[in-house]
């Protein structure tokens, strides 16, 4: 349905008469203006300056205060105003006055101070098709718009700079954008790993941005999140939260609530002030929601991102949900709950993970992991799922056998998170969300969640 403006209505309607009137009004105003400015088509300012100043800066400062037509097209610095005997300025003589020799009239363009700024500025100039811009110019004040912004991002990406689609909207000057790119070198403060923590494991360099805590997955090791931490390196600090260290005496929590309280104590020690972000999936979603509930109750800003998991997962196997095929599973579940669920999940989680990360497994015997995992399932099973006064963000992938299952996942969280569920689509298969190459898009989706949470 392509339309052109040429199929417009022919007759003169009331609104067109109004517009014609508007035009007539405009012509009148032009006439008045013409008379007013007949012999002064250019506005020139003569100034005596105490300090050195720059033409452009003065003009931009004036633009914030004066309507356009009052902005002088030229600013001339003079030593003094020639005066008439009656005390008024002698305009005729003033016009003949020479500008001070040392007045700086070359354009001041803020030059790049490092390589990243240099590269970015070059890209901006190419895309915007302008030459006289500097590193403090705002992209959207020098002709930039949405489509040009993604062209800049695409060029920056192919020059090896990692930027997301909306980062130009957040950091609108070359200087800020370059700082984000170089962030990991700039913002690093002390490493948490010096301190003694029982549950927190630092996975990447610490910086001043809000931290992301990854609840370690039932049955696996915290290095499950290593790839994610690497992706977010420089963007934000990433930590894993594990129930217990694998060496020494194992800490086996009695309940989800106890574990959440222990985790919060260390989270607050590492980062006394929020916002805090947590990512959670499978059996640790219960701990995730419990942590966020407690933090929110204490007016801490806490955000829970659920990676493609249903709330109260085991309720799926409640009698009302059972099909004939599932009923056998239930029978087994009743007899040997831990073993049944473990083997159910091992196929889905542990095996693909083991294949990829085999060489990384260096600490903690399988037996220890299994023990911790079993405890996870135990406390998850006993957790009472209740509505909480928080919101959650839900990463959902459509790459599953039954995409319609997504609605059930959403519904399950809507029952729990009374302040709302924000669904953020993500790519790849559930089992591979934290594995290469899917991790790249997962990390992007997680950053999106965090940025959005912090904006709202």
């Amino acid at each position: 349905m392509e339309h052109t403006v040429h199929d417009r209505i022919g007759e003169l309607s009331a609104e067109e008469r109004e517009l014609l009137y508007f035009k007539a009004e405009k012509s009148l105003s032009e006439l008045r203006l013409k008379q007013k400015t007949e012999d002064s088509s250019r506005l020139v300012a003569y100034v005596i300056a105490k300090n050195k100043f720059n033409d452009d800066n003065l003009k931009s400062a004036l633009r914030l205060r004066l309507p356009n037509y009052m902005i002088p097209s030229e600013i001339i610095e003079v030593a003094e105003f020639p005066m008439l005997p009656n005390g008024k300025v002698d305009k005729k003589r003033l016009r003949r006055t020479q500008r001070l020799q040392n007045q700086k009239i070359e354009k001041l363009v803020e030059l790049p101070t490092n390589d990243t700024e240099k590269k970015l500025l070059k890209i901006w100039k190419e895309v915007l098709n302008v030459t006289d811009i500097g590193i403090f110019d705002n992209f959207f004040e020098i002709g930039g718009d949405s489509i040009l912004s993604i062209r800049v991002i695409a060029k920056a990406r192919s020059a090896g700079m990692t930027l997301s689609a909306n980062q130009l909207f957040e950091y609108q000057t070359v200087s800020e954008l370059a700082a984000v790119i170089m962030n990991d070198e700039i913002d690093i403060v002390s490493e948490v790993s010096d301190e003694k923590f029982e549950h927190i494991v630092t996975l990447n360099k610490r910086n001043s941005r809000s931290p992301l805590f990854c609840l370690h997955s039932g049955g696996s090791h915290f290095f499950y999140y290593n790839l994610l931490a690497k992706q977010l390196e420089g963007k934000r600090p990433v930590y894993a939260l594990q129930a217990s260290q694998h060496e020494g005496e194992l800490k086996l929590h009695d309940s989800v609530h106890e574990m959440a309280k222990d985790f919060i104590a260390e989270v607050k020690r590492a980062h006394p002030v929020g916002p805090y972000h947590f990512i959670s999936y499978c059996f640790n979603t219960a701990i995730g929601i419990e942590i966020v509930k407690i933090l929110n109750q204490n007016s801490d800003e806490a955000n829970l991102i659920i990676a493609d998991t249903m709330a109260d997962y085991l309720s799926l196997f409640a009698p009302s949900e059972t099909t004939k095929r599932a009923s056998k599973f239930i029978e087994r579940l009743k007899k040997r709950p831990i073993k049944t669920i473990s083997s159910f999940f091992r196929g889905k989680l542990m095996n693909p993970l083991k294949r990829k990360l085999k060489t990384l497994i260096s600490t903690g015997s399988e037996k220890v992991i299994q023990k911790l995992h079993n405890n996870h399932i135990k406390i998850y099973k006993n957790y009472k799922w209740q509505a909480v006064n928080s919101s959650i963000q839900l990463l959902l992938t459509e790459e599953r056998k039954k995409p319609e299952f997504n609605q059930r996942i959403i519904n399950s969280w809507e029952e729990i998170a009374k302040k709302g569920v924000e669904v953020v689509p993500t790519e790849g298969h559930h089992d591979e969300l934290f594995l290469a190459p899917t991790i790249e898009s997962t990390a992007r989706s997680i950053e999106k969640c965090i940025k959005h949470f912090e904006k709202v």
Binding site: M1, E2, H3, T4, V5, H6, D7, R8, I9, A14, E15, E18, L19, F22, K23, K26, S27, S29, E30, L33, R63, L64, R65, P67, N68, Y69, I71, V130, I133, D137, N138, E141, I142, G143, D145, S146, I147, S149, I150, R151, I153, A154, R157, S158, A165, N166, F169, E398, V423, V424, P425, K448, K451, H452, K455, V456
Partner: protein
């Protein structure tokens, strides 16, 4: 001026030489709008900013039957402007190159986008960076001589949709897909809610030679009227 329910009016105008009379148009604006316009470094951007705001005030005043300076705007989370009083009237404005496009509807969310067609970049590279799989595939199958227009059809449809929703570019561009087909603009897929695509109607138009425009509105809209407003005699 009458604007029936279920109808959209799209006004386009060319900036041309209006800068000669910029003082007149500036008079329509609030101090805040003037200082906003003055933040632009280059004159061409200041002119477009002033003209589009003046046209918005003028046209809104005609639809609302109140004077142009009695109109007050508010801004959404992502900066989408809206009228700051109770009214069924909704609008959206876009500009590119020398064209300004303003769209008005009643009781329907509305987003409009216009782009001047440029051909100085790698279309497929850009699409592969930001568009959805569906759109990339459609673009890859497009004839070479229609590639840039198809890209702009896709972009303006997407941008108008994001604007209609009132979201900024933080909205994931790849999470929904539009058709690239010249004759049948539509929303193919909305990943966050498969049913949402039924709630919107898309239109494409050509506000001037060398430009592409698109409009996203609620599905209850039945008719779009395109009008050209020549500012210069």
């Amino acid at each position: 001026m009458e604007l029936p329910e279920n109808e959209v009016h799209v006004w386009s105008f060319n900036v041309n030489n209006s800068h000669k009379n910029i003082e007149f148009y500036t008079d329509c604006l609030s101090t805040e709008e003037i200082s906003k316009a003055n933040r632009f470094k280059f004159e061409r951007d200041r002119i477009v900013s002033i003209l589009s705001r003046c046209a918005l005030r003028k046209l809104s005043s005609m639809y609302l039957g109140r004077s142009a300076d009695a109109i007050d705007f508010k801004y959404g989370t992502y900066g989408k402007p809206d009228l700051n009083f109770t009214t069924a009237l909704k609008f959206n404005v876009s500009h590119s190159g020398k064209m300004i496009v303003l769209a008005f509807a009643k009781n329907s969310e509305i987003g409009v986008d216009v782009e001047k067609i440029k051909t100085d970049f790698d279309v497929l590279d850009l699409a592969e960076n930001f568009f959805s799989k569906d759109e990339i595939r459609q673009l890859q199958m497009t004839q070479k001589d229609d590639l840039f227009e198809a890209f702009y059809r896709c972009w303006t449809r997407k941008e108008s949709f994001i604007k209609a929703k009132g979201s900024g570019l933080s909205f994931p561009l790849a999470s929904f897909a539009v058709s690239l087909d010249k004759e049948k603009p539509r929303l193919y897929k909305t990943e966050w809610n498969p049913l949402e695509r039924e709630e919107w109607k898309l239109f494409s138009f050509e506000p001037n030679k060398g430009y592409v425009g698109a409009l996203s509105v609620g599905s209850e809209i039945q008719k779009v009227l395109y009008r050209n407003w020549d500012l210069e005699p």
